[in-house]
Symmetry: C2
Subunit: 210 residues, 2 copies
């Protein structure tokens, strides 16, 4: 198909598609003349993936590119791929920069939680810092909140992660599995928080009456 049809079917403007082509987020089409190229279904699928990672998940062009390169290079290594996905951060992640008062870091709390759960994770996982900073913030707000309060949440997270991995092993083709890992990890995040909010509303109504 021509770039105009690629644009129509993906809903992505032609200028944006050209930008992705220049940035290498989308492989070039098959040239049919000096100024035209032919694109196929794999381009459409890749374009939708790029759009979802940037538009829905808020990743930067650079991070998206690294992630996609990693996906194609590590097709078969699900674990390594998950590590990359887990390490990817939104372009602007609320909360990690402009936090309140600079409190003494207590990464020991996060270590204690990980030990308690028996989890073995990379020293450099950004998610460690998120937990440390959340505990710091809650503490700086005068809430008596302890890493032990997170243990039941961590137990539920463990069950969630098991669901996640079960959905990956459904897929036999390694490239498809890689894409699924990226998509399900990253794109389900807002939905999981939304489910918690809906469940809170329902439980709160049932507990306190309306």
């Amino acid at each position: 198909m021509r770039i105009s049809e690629l644009s129509r079917r993906s809903g992505v403007p032609i200028t944006t598609i050209k930008h992705y082509l220049r940035e290498g987020l989308l492989p070039p089409g098959r040239p049919t003349s000096a100024t035209q190229a032919e694109y196929g279904e794999p381009h459409l699928r890749r374009l939708r993936l790029v759009r979802a990672l940037i538009g829905v998940r808020g990743l930067s062009v650079g991070t998206t590119k690294e992630l996609l390169n990693a996906v194609s290079e590590n097709e078969t290594d699900t674990h390594q791929l998950l590590g990359l996905v887990l390490g990817a951060r939104p372009a602007t992640e609320p909360g990690t920069e402009s936090a309140t008062e600079p409190v003494a870091a207590r990464p020991g709390d996060t270590d204690a939680l990980l030990t308690e759960m028996g989890w073995s994770v990379s020293e450099h996982a950004p998610a460690r810092d998120v937990i440390t900073k959340t505990l710091e913030t809650l503490r700086s707000l005068g809430l008596d909140y302890d890493w032990r309060s997170l243990i039941p949440y961590a137990a539920l997270a463990e069950q969630t992660a098991t669901l996640d991995l079960d959905q990956l092993t459904d897929t036999a083709d390694p490239l498809e599995r890689a894409e699924r890992a990226v998509l399900l990890t990253v794109l389900l995040e807002p939905a999981l928080l939304a489910l918690r909010r809906l469940a809170q509303e329902d439980k709160s109504a049932k507990r306190y009456g309306v």
Copy 2:
């Protein structure tokens, strides 16, 4: 304390504090002269809360103001308060605007999920749209993903919400409970996603070997 000490103890610059005062996010201090005022511990605590909602959670000044007003007006009504917290959206919420191709909305899927779970939630809860859009996005990417796939996640979200509510009832003072509802709902979100990511890394390593 003077504004300079309030700034030092909160880590918030004086110009930002003045901005919050003008916007009504922080109640005025007790005037001690034409140009000076005296602030107390409640100001410090309120300032940290504002900072956390704006800086950590990314809410807009307007949303934060509404939320704080609602907290002080509805001190005793935990359910109504939770409803407000649940309705509050980050100033820039990735994913709800710049989504991919405009797909036919199928809110029926979300309704079906809510019915299946037996949850009764407001027609206008923004979290409904988040779920509908996530399902659309996954579908537009060619993934065979069905609302039924979310049932086990919803069951875990239900357990999470029960944990959340249990932590609120610890607190007897209504205003403190209101603040706690805001803080735990909103500020725990990044930590819950971080726990999922860490659990994924651990489970993935254990399942696929390193």
